[in-house]
Amino acid sequence: MTTKLKGLKELGNTSDPLRTVSYQVRTKMSDYEDDNTDVQSLTVEEEYELWNSNVPVMYEFVSETKLTWPSLTIQWLPSDGQSPEQSLIFGTHTAGEEVNYLKVATINLPAGIAGLDQGDEEDEANDHSSFAIANKFPHIEEVIRARYMPANSNIIATINGKGTISIFDRTLEESKAQVSTLAFHKENGYGLAFNPHISGELLSGSDDTTVALWDIEAAKKPKSILTSHDDIVNDVKWHEFESNVFGTVSEDKTLQVHDKRVRLEPVKKLPTASPFNTLSFSKHSRNLLAAAGVDSQIYLYDMRDMSSPLHVMSGHQDSVTTVEFSPHTDGIICSSGSDRRAIIWDLTQIGAEQSQDDADDGAPELMMMHAGHRSPVNEFSFNPQIPWLLASTEEDNVIQAWKVSMKLVNASPPAISDPSLLV
């Protein structure tokens, strides 16, 4: 049986601010019509329709939610195992027209998607997801970035358009949930990262060119301030294994690696041809690092020798906004861009042989392109529980949750019980 896809186009016209359309894909390969439409010449809407028609071959599941205001940030929250109920945090950017909020939403995924028992496949109810706001916390100014604290995911930090950091405890009543305000930065901040190893330790980076290190459990003043950048700090990230090490990228065209025990000067300072917007440390290697920015390429570095990149990945057509390593699968990276795309890369395929047809679609390491957004993608997040499930947010008030098709993931061929049946 084949579940027909629901047209997503109607979404754009809906007045319902929180309407979600989702579907579980069980369409057969043969339903996919390979056409040679020249994608370059399509309008954004035509491109979206083309993407929509290709959804069955690329995804297990896609859900799209239209919001009243755009969110600049998105992050899945951890939960107990692969439950069908998953939560994520995002914010609003009302441009001063309304009160801003930090929001927690709950998505109920179809059981099969969450990795649970497939259940009765005829059961229509199982095929659908729901998206509901669980909490909304009033927030001063727009939410530029929101992050939960790994040691206690009830604690959420945000940074706003004025560079002010707010700490929320989402177990408290909505109006009282903001438990503290950390004022130091003088301007907008895009960098916000909790140390995955040390509870309460938070880094923030700002347009005011500084990076601040906080212990949110101890004081409302930064523990230390870093001034080694000469221009807007675009991102800050902790190393995934070394609790003292973090990286920063800036408009000053440097990528810096710091050790918090060594103040003032970075331990590594890499000049780049154009500024990086984002960086990410591997969760599976101590030495692998990815960074990307305005030149649309993803640069991979070996921290032992950063003099030249290991490899450069091309696929985006505009500035890259976020890059992140998969928490589950070694070698998998996702990136998002102002070109309205999120791309999943498989580093193990770098330099692999490919047919000319495949080469026409992109480099061998370009595993999949998520083309469901109609405006620049601000940020995305890997679900920490469910492999290959991501959420992404775009400038035009849309959040999408999507799970990559297992057909793209599983390279191993089906078992043959009795080969003699083939002859």
Binding site: S30, S285, G331, I350, G351, Q356, A359, P419, S420
Partner: protein, 391 residues
């Protein structure tokens, strides 16, 4: 009507107008390009001339270029800039125009200083037709090689579909070049690139295991020297070098054409059967993926190419497992489509694909020089092929 107004009189196919020559001491060998669209545009047509003849000649040793464009009539306006189009793809200021004597003097002068790459970069040597050849692994950081490559790289555009010039400043390129050691003529070359290879975090962090994939990008034997096994020697030399290089874990080929696929299959087949792989192929069908993966890695081949070769060996050995192995792989590869069919249709589809693949393997194996056994399709040559000869 004035003839100026009849466009067909002024339109020439650029593929037939362009005549290439390699000049040696005795004569000039002339041949035609296969592609000219990278130089003259997609239509491969030139407008504005009658009896257009474009002679692009190279000294066969130094590759010093010479260009002479001839025609009986040309239009005053709207005509294509033939000379400008070609010069864009040759080293600036290097091409001698029209004056043949000047060109001959120039390359004779250059020849006096022209030397083969130094012997440390020699990776293979062989004789063919009574002449000696050597293959060198060279790098564009060598100014002599850079100049030679700049002159000859136009051949990649003229003979390799979708070729483009490589980035000379990217140090990851290595070039393997074959020379006739007595005449110093370059016979052909291949540009190769090393890509960083990521296997997993653990292997990456133990730095001694950092591996790379070596890719054969452009591969060309100049037309006068083709069909004399120079291609096999060049391919095998590169493979031998990479086999010994610990950092190289896999060899790949960028967009091979059919002729190169055949060359590659034959050379890889010789290498694998020469190493005694035949006797170690498991009896299970389908052959376990773990064995294939492990062995492919050992021979530094991609899984797809290695599996193909194992199938060829099974056919060559008349293995009873050949048919089931091929069909099982085809089934796995196309199972999305095949599962929807009834058993008889499925078997018929598989049989059809199997038959055509078997014919293709047999065609390739026919040209393998040291066949150990005779293939059914080639029985008339049985007597000759029994001889074992080392290539």
């Amino acid at each position: 009507m004035a003839e100026e107004l009849k466009p067909e009189l002024w339109t020439t196919s650029s593929n037939s107008a362009l005549k290439l020559s390699l000049v040696n001491d005795e004569n000039a060998v002339q041949f035609s390009p296969i592609f000219t669209y990278p130089i003259f545009g997609q239509a491969e047509q030139l407008f504005g001339y009658q009896d257009l003849n474009i002679l692009l000649a190279f000294d066969s040793v130094t590759f010093k270029p010479f260009l002479n464009i001839k025609y009986t009539k040309k239009l005053e306006r709207g005509l294509d800039d033939v000379e400008g189009s070609i010069l864009k793809f040759l080293p600036e200021g290097d091409v001698i125009l029209k004056d043949e004597v000047e060109w001959v003097d120039a390359f004779n002068g250059e020849r006096e200083k022209f030397a083969l790459p130094n012997s440390e970069s020699k990776v293979a040597e062989y004789t063919s037709g009574g002449e000696s050849f050597a293959i060198f692994k060279v790098h564009l950081s060598d100014p002599n090689i850079r100049q030679l490559h700049r002159r000859m790289q136009i051949f990649t555009l003229l003979f390799i579909e979708a070729a483009s010039y490589i980035d000379e400043d990217d140090s990851a390129w290595d070039i393997f070049m074959t020379f006739n050691t007595s005449t110093r003529q370059c016979i052909g070359y291949t540009t190769t690139y090393k890509h960083w290879r990521y296997i997993n975090g653990q292997e990456f962090d133990s730095s001694e295991k950092t591996t790379k994939r070596a890719k054969i990008s452009q591969f060309i034997i100049f037309p006068p020297y083709q069909s004399k096994s120079h291609g096999s020697h060049l391919y095998s030399a590169a493979i031998d070098v990479w086999s010994k290089e610990e950092k190289i874990s896999e060899v790949t080929v960028e967009d091979p054409n059919e002729a190169f696929d055949d060359l590659r299959d034959r050379c890889d087949f010789m290498r694998l059967s020469g190493s005694g792989l035949s006797s170690s192929i498991p009896e299970d069908v389908p052959i376990p993926r773990t064995w294939l993966t492990e062995q492919a890695r050992k021979y530094k081949l991609s899984l797809v190419q290695f599996t193909r070769l194992v199938e060829m060996i099974l056919l060559y050995d008349n293995s009873p497992n050949f048919e089931i192995q091929v069909k099982a792989r085809l089934y796995q590869k196309n199972h999305e489509v095949l599962t929807g069919m009834d058993s008889d249709t499925r078997k018929a589809k598989l049989q059809e694909a199997f038959t055509s693949l078997k014919e293709d393997y047999a065609r390739i194996l026919q040209k393998v020089p040291n066949r150990r056994r005779v293939l059914p399709s080639d029985e008339e040559n049985a007597g000759e092929s029994k001889r074992h000869k080392k290539e």
